[in-house]
Symmetry: C2
Subunit: 156 residues, 2 copies
């Protein structure tokens, strides 16, 4: 088996975990985004959007996953870690990911309005900042996009 | 007294509170940045950089102040609020401030490397995003800058 097939299988496996968290957000009437952070094939942090429940605009899935992963590692840097997230990170989350020195971000759906790994802004590979992130896009893209569309159609 | 003098006095008064928090960060061997959030002339949230102590790269002064203010108001939006912060917000913090729909950001020192209220990036008044922030810069600029310079000279 080639390493790229192994890579895709691994990406699918962990994006499915992020997707389950996005579905949990949906069930709790939050914008459905989920994230997991993986190191050495283990999930070391996870989160789903809880802006409404926590009444905190910073409580995005990625922010909660970063804090959880830092807590697991007892370390402020997430070197050799990969974030799987169902939606392209916004400026806040992409900024946080740069500061955390995370190795790779794998995301599902693109965000043309605020996506900051290339769509609306590029913070992930910006040479003004002191760290650049590998970005892989489009894993489970349709599923992630449909879940978001369905949320906005039903609830808003 | 003209309203602009009143405005400057008010800005100085609250920036001094943010500066005291930056000094507290300095004493705890953290990069010295402090922030307070003000509504109706009352501080409703405050924070200083705790990235080292909390081992969390997201624990910037502004993020902690936003979460504290949201908790005080039991509300995810910080409408009619002003953030006073000793250093120009980074992409993560500026992104968070946009999502919080804060009215105004007053900052001390500029950050040419990562400042996201106009210096390195412009997230505060970017029409791609769904909220724009009033930005006032340069209040206690020299004090804020000297504190940071002194930290980096002594500790690194």
């Amino acid at each position: 088996m080639s390493s790229s097939i192994t890579g895709t299988k691994k990406h699918l496996r962990f994006m499915q975990q992020a997707f389950l968290l996005a579905e949990q957000a949906y069930d709790e009437e939050e914008i459905p985004v989920g994230a997991v952070i993986v190191k050495d094939n283990h999930i070391i942090g996870k989160g789903y959007n809880q802006s409404e429940r926590l009444a905190d605009a910073t409580a995005h899935a990625e922010m909660l996953a970063i804090s959880a992963a830092c807590s697991t590692l007892e370390e402020k840097y997430l070197q050799d870690c990969t974030l799987y997230v169902t939606l392209e990170p916004c400026p806040m989350c992409a900024g946080a990911l740069v500061w955390s020195k995370i190795d790779t971000v794998v995301y599902g759906a693109q965000d043309a309005n605020a996506g900051s790994c290339g769509s609306a802004f590029n913070l992930s590979t910006n040479d003004k900042l002191n760290h650049q992130i590998n970005v892989i896009q489009g894993i489970m893209e349709d599923d992630c996009e449909h879940l978001l569309q369905s949320f906005f159609e039903v609830r808003r």
